[in-house]
Symmetry: C2
Subunit: 412 residues, 2 copies
Amino acid sequence: MFKNTLYFDVSDTPKIEELWNKISVEKTSKAVGYYNLPAEGEKLLLDIGVWGAGIRNVENIVVIGVGGSSLGTKALYSMLYHEKKASTPNLYFLENIDSVTIKKTLKSIKLDNSLFLLVSKSGTTLDTISIAKIVMVHFGIFPGDKYFGKYFAVVTDSGSALNKFANEYGLKSFFIPKNVGGRFSVLSATGVVPLTLCGIDTAKLLQGAAECQDDFFSRKISDTLIKKSLAYTVKSGQNINVLFSYSDIFRDFNAWYVQLWAESLGKKKGDERVGLTPVGLIGAIDQHSFLQLIIDGPKDKSVTFIRVENMTEDMPIPDISLKFLEKTNLKKGIGAGQLLNEQAIATMKSVLNEGAITDEIVLAKADAFHAGYLIYYFELLTSLCGLALEINAYNQPGVEVGKKILLDKLGK
Amino acid sequence: MFKNTLYFDVSDTPKIEELWNKISVEKTSKAVGYYNLPAEGEKLLLDIGVWGAGIRNVENIVVIGVGGSSLGTKALYSMLYHEKKASTPNLYFLENIDSVTIKKTLKSIKLDNSLFLLVSKSGTTLDTISIAKIVMVHFGIFPGDKYFGKYFAVVTDSGSALNKFANEYGLKSFFIPKNVGGRFSVLSATGVVPLTLCGIDTAKLLQGAAECQDDFFSRKISDTLIKKSLAYTVKSGQNINVLFSYSDIFRDFNAWYVQLWAESLGKKKGDERVGLTPVGLIGAIDQHSFLQLIIDGPKDKSVTFIRVENMTEDMPIPDISLKFLEKTNLKKGIGAGQLLNEQAIATMKSVLNEGAITDEIVLAKADAFHAGYLIYYFELLTSLCGLALEINAYNQPGVEVGKKILLDKLGK
């Protein structure tokens, strides 16, 4: 189903137990809320179902949000798009205050067939609210208009400015639990609302996450994850962590991982600066790009390979021979998915030859269940690395300075 | 027009002169051919024009190629898409042996309105030829068929197996000069053929590159580039190089840069392993992702900011106030493009505060001329870093091991 094989070992048993205790305490403390999101899914799905039954049929769901408000949703949508029925709404994202992209997206949708979801945990993300204003003016629909609540809904913290705005103008609010940070929030309303509305099997998604939770907290898979976090954090010298994901469907998952990793694990610790640097690669494409650096460059990189054992609707590579190009001929009956898997395996061997900290994650299928498992798995790994580094993985103090400089200059 | 401001200085004049001499020799030697591509553009454009006049009208150009055969073309197409006329063909890419993407692309095109370009310098890239076979079977068109040459053309080395294949079956071949490596080849037929066919102003593109060449080899901008390369390579400790590009149009440019940098600059040098690690970020999105790590994490990163002074068709941020969300209100008359620029400036200030090696590239416009300048500029910088590190920036010996493992297992 979901298999993570480590091609290295960490035998420091006391440290393993220490981390196990720390994460157990953190989960129980309720200070960090994402651990328990799978259990809250049922109530959320019911809420979406009841509300969804009362809204008009739309063809497009448009998420207006950035960072933790969009990356996880995008990751899952791309990973599971091949499972989506053509009759369910499409998902669009307005993430960047970039006129080129905004115009392109607004050109391809109409107000009547769209629902806009404003997603912002704090409720006052400058980019998000600015884009929302552009959308309002573009379509000529404003707060106070009779049908405003038919076109907009919000996902935010209970009691946030955005929640108050929604209440004032009759918009539906979905809530992100207070103790769940933006980048850990994809299995909350942040991701579950838009994905459910687009027909993704979010019940299965949450089941997958719940199974990962069980497997971890029953200690079935905890040592694997703890060993990984120790390999990355305890003076390994390999503090660039490469995620080499085989299939285009993981491109947005990589971007989600990069945020999760970089924003959680890059922190000041007194006078010290700690941090692990994430790099997301797509196989087989990036064998023709970044791989050379991993193989021959400095030994400062660990590499995790992700591959899907059974690709959906695999297609055969035709057993035809092209004159002068015979050296590319493969054995009969090999499918594209199999070739992709074998590329991953061959590349992994060549990376192992060079002594990098290497491990391999194999998903039996690329479906909602496995996607949920994968998401929760990487969240656990991130928490463990934070605990091993003895930093707060859940804040982001460094990004406030730039925001202040900007608002001092442009704010009213 | 194109302005690169360094917020650091390197005063080691002898080293600057040494690098200047080395790159001058490399250019003159003709061993490295990309330096002179702008001058060869006129002949190439003529060739494309003559051939293009004789081909049928198509709606889609499909590049089948990977790495150096696709990344540069994709970078320029994305950067210049907003300039493209709706009546010119669209460009598609088949880069990955991934059934999900291949199916999706093949579904959206028809044989009759498409032209397939097989791009491979060596001519025998396994992924590329396997995808070509899938395309042939999908559309039921094969070498030897009467109209085969109407649907396929190739870009490759003169005399390669793919060139021989093309000659055998009456396909047009465009050539990449022998002394131009794949990842340095975007200003050769690799990029210029598909982009010209899609109506991109490749004459202006090559003019921009030519201007960069002149500016550099007349020493107008050489010291800036040499200082950058010295800052990155001479024991700076900041050997992760972040490119923070403000606008979604640079997403594929970042991917091109990552290949160029990683594959050129990650090399074994006797027993030593050297290499600079590239990271591509998009502003303002990644302010909500990777930025935290740059600000508070280890001081192992340099940061280059790229922004466009005058964004095409900028749109105003509406001067409306939303109840409870007033703290996001901006001064009247600010456009999305201006906000994006100010975000870049504010973020750069916050990065400078933390003492990272920082510089800023400002393009007056995102047009073909500036895109050509930018491409050539980064190629020069890569060559300089290679010379400073005393490695061969133009080979990629590390990726052969995995290819051999794969072919031993799956090859006929």
